[in-house]
């Protein structure tokens, strides 16, 4: 620790950092624009000027940019010096010369860093009277809106987009005072993290285009602390609601996970909650395609009667909360509780959980600091998107380490990047097809999943003689394995990333072998990350469900928040539901399964519900409702409780709140008891008060519902959390798991997170939210897996059909959001050029794909990156029936 004097006050600070970072960490209000906690300093905006004095006697001092000046022990600086104040006000005034008179119609207004900094410096009157510069805007796609007049040339956007997120289709153009930030020409931004421009840009140049369609100011949104439902990474976010509509998603800082950035699926997928396809009323099927609506009580009684009769099975869901799954498990009994995922997926999830018990998974922050990476089999950008953004930072680690002799601090971003030039750390990608990270990879290799696993086993073997050998490995692959092993073994923090995308146990085992081999050679910081498909995939697996294929034979079947037609072949599901069997579907959206149900119970969408998700690390994180579910809709667990009450089940009948359920869960399954600590219980109070979900300047309280009734109703009660649907409550900083949004006096923008962290870019005060459920067991890390798959034997006239994942389209819920749907691909079949040529097929032609004796007609797409003998179809598209992939299939010329 170093000591510096800020306006003659001694302060203990981090000597590795710059003055701006430490001043903000100390809680001072120092204006800035171009510096960003995760992007570092470039000194472009000159807004953070402070006075630096030579010694205690120096009264004149000199102006320096705080963000560019390293901390020196004993340094004396002044923020309040009149010269510094005047300089900072002058800089803002200069930026305002060309700034349009837009605040009232600017979507950034009320959460604008430029507004905040202008107020902070005291600039309040325009003296410049010459014409303002103007620009034309660009169409950047359905997610991001562009209003270029508002730019202050801080360069944050281009640094984030190109340097941090690796996008190529966005840049800065023009010269002198006419620099322009955008694309070469109009078009959809290609990068999967483009939505972060909304929060990275300190002005209203880039704003959320989906939010614009139902625009609400930040101060008018009712927020909740929540967890993303669109993949298994578990990013923290804040959904904001107004007038019963979910309006937008903003990032909620979590040091170990998303930090300041979300992926576009997480940010824009939310609109499924407002979809036309929402189920709003319980209904009973009376004849094929005929429904009769039902009030809540008789609906629960109907289900209760079935439960009382006894012959009921339940199918859980990887996108329903741990609590809802547990309630179903209790309702039907553990032996009648089945996984709502395919058998292969369940087996892999169990394997992933076992591996987590051997060794904890790396956090995203740890992945960023890995200095050698092997991605085995997973298209991370499309299956666990936010993880890919972290992996992208890992290639910088080795070049940054080489900078140490040059004495260039990591935060001095431009200098560090200049010094590193194009050098990148070792990053190897072995996947079935090209991925969006290939541009940073030292080497990529595309092969069928079994071959990839063999490569993985071979790498482990090179690292450790006692690992199983791989027979008949072609010499080039053996050589590749050697290079990967050399890179991993010479790294300080090697990382292996795999996942469930290929549905291959061999891949996971191979990855685990590599991690084990590394640790055996005393690389204690070696890590293994396994991407899981959905928000609560691991949570479902931890409830120990039986495999889906064994679900059969019962009188009635309860399906929890799940579309079975995505999980198994249509013929199998049809058979399961055939005959007199009753199907009870609980979900928020209409889909093929709810259409077949005898009874549909409308479940709360995740933004209206409270529960726990378990992410890829085994971290249990609680999410809370941004608004209560409307009308007859209620949480799945409440429907199940009501039914159990009707059936006279004592254990669940008394559940009044989520805490009652959680207490039951902890008693029933002691291994999961730590979930109780994922967030404070509902009776938690701060100085006797609840935590407000609304900003203290939430407007319209006495007018919102006045058209219905002029007497205001009391705010809805919330028995499940210590949060209130109100602006009233304790204004202090709550525990991080309960923090609905970031706001601090003078800091209306998302830069306010500075005020909630122990140190800038460090942990939130009170600790990072979430608890790890799968603590590694103290015994040695296990043994090598020995099942090396044989080489792939091609089949004559058949292709190995692989799933190709799409960030927009492969996930079910986000596809109900119009903007995401617009970006989803149309169904296609992909073949390599050579394979298409051998069939005499051309791009765009219709081809018939034969699977299980049925033909599907798809349009052909040529993907040069596909390995020979392999074909690909987009995973998870509703137009394609649930295919258990990889699988062998025949391909023919189609009709029409």
């Amino acid at each position: 620790m170093a000591t510096i004097y800020v306006d003659d006050r001694p302060c203990r600070v981090d000597p590795q950092q710059n003055l701006l970072h430490v001043c903000l960490s100390l809680g001072f209000n120092l204006p800035y624009f171009c510096w960003h906690p995760a992007l570092g300093s470039v000194g472009a905006c000159r807004q953070c000027a402070v006075k630096l004095f030579r010694d205690a006697h120096d009264r004149r001092g000199k102006l320096v940019m705080a963000c560019m000046t390293p901390v020196a022990d004993g340094a004396r600086i002044s923020l309040a010096d009149p010269d510094a104040l005047a300089f900072r006000a002058g800089i803002i005034e200069g930026m305002m010369h060309n700034h349009p008179h837009d605040c009232p119609v600017c979507d950034e207004g009320g959460e604008c860093h430029l507004q905040d900094m202008t107020v902070m410096t005291g600039h309040d009157y325009r003296r410049y009277s010459f014409p303002k510069r103007t620009f034309r805007n660009q169409y950047l796609g359905p997610l991001v809106n562009h209003e270029m007049n508002r730019c202050i040339q801080c360069y944050r956007c281009v640094r984030f987009y190109r340097e941090y997120a690796g996008g190529r289709d966005f840049n800065v153009f023009g010269i002198r005072n006419l620099v322009y930030f955008g694309r070469y020409q109009d078009g959809v931004l290609e990068n999967e993290f483009a939505g972060n421009l909304d929060e990275v840009c300190p002005t209203g140049v880039f704003t959320d285009a989906t939010h614009k369609r139902h625009y609400t100011r930040k101060w008018d949104l009712q927020f909740a602390p929540s967890i993303c439902i669109h993949c298994g990474v578990g990013c923290n976010l804040s959904p904001g609601e107004r007038y019963g509509l979910l309006r937008r998603i903003v990032n909620r800082y979590h040091q170990d996970l998303n930090s300041y950035f979300l992926c576009d699926r997480g940010r824009y997928g939310y609109e499924f909650v407002n979809s036309e396809s929402r189920l709003r009323q319980a209904r009973l099927g009376i004849a094929a395609g005929k429904w009769q609506s039902l009030a809540a009580q008789p609906a629960a009684a109907w289900l209760g009667k079935l439960l009382a009769a006894g012959d009921v099975i339940g199918i859980g869901s990887p996108r329903a909360s741990l609590e809802a799954n547990y309630a179903l498990r209790l309702a039907v009994g553990p032996r009648r509780f089945f996984a709502g995922v395919s058998d292969v997926e369940l087996r892999l999830l169990r394997l992933a959980a076992d591996l987590l018990r051997r060794q904890p998974a790396p956090t995203l922050r740890e992945m960023e600091s890995a200095d050698a990476v092997l991605v085995l089999g997973e298209d991370v950008t499309n299956t666990a998107p936010r993880m890919a953004l972290s992996l992208r930072q890992a290639v910088r680690q080795q070049p940054l380490a080489e900078l140490e002799p040059l004495k260039i601090p990591v935060w001095l971003d431009h200098a560090a990047r200049e010094a590193a030039q194009e050098r990148r750390g070792p990053f190897y990608i072995a996947t079935p097809a090209a991925t969006r990270l290939d541009d940073i990879a030292a080497e990529t290799w595309h092969a069928a999943p079994g071959e990839l696993a063999r490569l993985g086993f071979a790498v482990a073997r090179v690292l450790d003689e006692s690992a199983p050998a791989v027979a008949d490995l072609p010499p080039p692959v053996q050589a590749l394995a050697g290079r990967i092993a050399a890179a991993l073994s010479s790294a300080r923090r090697p990382l292996v990333v795999s996942g469930l995308a290929c549905r291959s146990a061999a891949l996971l085992e191979a990855s685990a072998n590599i991690a084990l081999a590394l640790r055996r050679s005393r690389q204690d910081h070696a890590r293994l990350a396994i991407a899981v498909p959905e928000a609560n995939s691991l949570g479902l697996a931890l409830l120990d469900p039986r495999p889906l294929s064994e679900a059969a034979g019962a009188e009635a079947l309860i399906v929890l928040e799940n579309d079975l037609y995505r999980r198994a072949s249509a013929s199998w599901v049809d058979e399961l539901l055939a005959g007199e069997r009753r199907l009870i579907a609980l979900d928020c959206l209409e889909h093929p399964t709810t259409r077949r149900a005898s009874l549909v119970l409308p479940a709360a969408a995740w933004s209206e519900d409270e529960g726990t998700f378990v992410n890829y690390e085994g971290r249990a994180q609680r999410y809370f409702a941004a608004c209560p579910p409307p009308g007859e809709i209620q949480s799945s667990w409440r429907w199940l409780r009501d039914a159990m009450r009707e059936a006279g089940r004592e254990a669940a009948a008394g559940w009044q709140s989520l805490d009652d359920l959680l207490a039951g869960l902890a008693r029933d399954l002691p291994a999961l008891a730590p979930v109780l600590n994922a967030a404070p219980p509902a009776d938690f109070r701060m100085a006797g008060a609840r935590i407000p979900r609304q900003p203290h300047r939430y407007s319209g309280r006495t007018a919102i519902l006045a058209n219905l009734d002029v007497s205001e109703p009391p705010p809805p009660p919330d028995p499940d959390s210590p949060l209130a649907y109100s602006m009233e409550g304790n204004p202090d900083q709550p525990p991080a798991a309960l923090l609905p949004f970031a706001w601090a006096p003078g800091w209306n923008s998302y830069q306010a997170w500075n005020k909630f962290q122990e140190e800038i870019y460090g942990p939130l005060r009170g600790g990072n939210p979430g608890v790890l459920l799968l603590a590694p067991e103290p015994r040695p890390a296990g043994d090598f897996f020995r099942n090396v798959p044989p080489p792939l034997a091609g089949r004559d006239g058949e292709w190995l059909l692989l799933p190709l994942y799409h960030i927009f389209g492969s996930e079910m819920l986000s596809r109900y959001a119009p903007a995401i749907r617009q970006l989803s691909p149309a169904p296609y079949l992909a073949l390599s050029a050579a394979d298409a040529g051998s069939l005499g097929l051309h791009a765009g032609e219709n081809v018939a794909l034969w699977l299980d004796g049925r033909a599907i007609t798809l349009s052909l797409k040529i993907r040069p990156d596909l390995p020979p003998g392999c074909a690909g179809v987009p995973a998870g598209l509703e137009a394609l029936p649930a295919l258990e992939l990889p699988a062998w299939s025949r391909i023919e010329r189609g009709h029409g």
Binding site: P131, N137, Y215, S699, G700
Partner: protein, 171 residues
Amino acid sequence: MFGIVRTIWDVFRHGFQPRVTRQYPEQPAYLPPRWRGRIILSRDPDGGERCVACYLCAIVCPVDCIALQATEDAAGRRYPEFFRINFSRCIFCGYCEDACPTYAIQLTPDFEMSEFRRQNLVYEKEDLLISGPGKYPGYNFWRVAGVKIGGKDKGESENEAPPADLRQLLP
């Protein structure tokens, strides 16, 4: 004793003073234009709706009696989809008028808005919108703002240079 006689005399004398009671409503009272009475939404000089749905009046209102929702026409002009004032809560403080960046919301010298039912004091946009600019005849926010709307392209606002040509390289 004297006090009592004096008081009786004063009362008697008042019987012959001129009357000051104004015969309202037959004789209307003069209220200055700055009087803070019934709130209206005005139009700009071109006849367009002035309110740009910025929510500033709503946030400043101390009794939170304004609620609205922003929307946009196809050409990008923003306006309120609905605009509601609950006059049974309004304290006629005039903060909303102060906050309004477009002169859209104005308080008028009219206080005659009593109702027998409180519900009737909830005014919607149709009840609030008048056909003229009210107290501020000249101002048109859209002529000053930088965004493009129907009939006004980039660079056509007051004091704006034409849109930059990014392909020219002159220093």
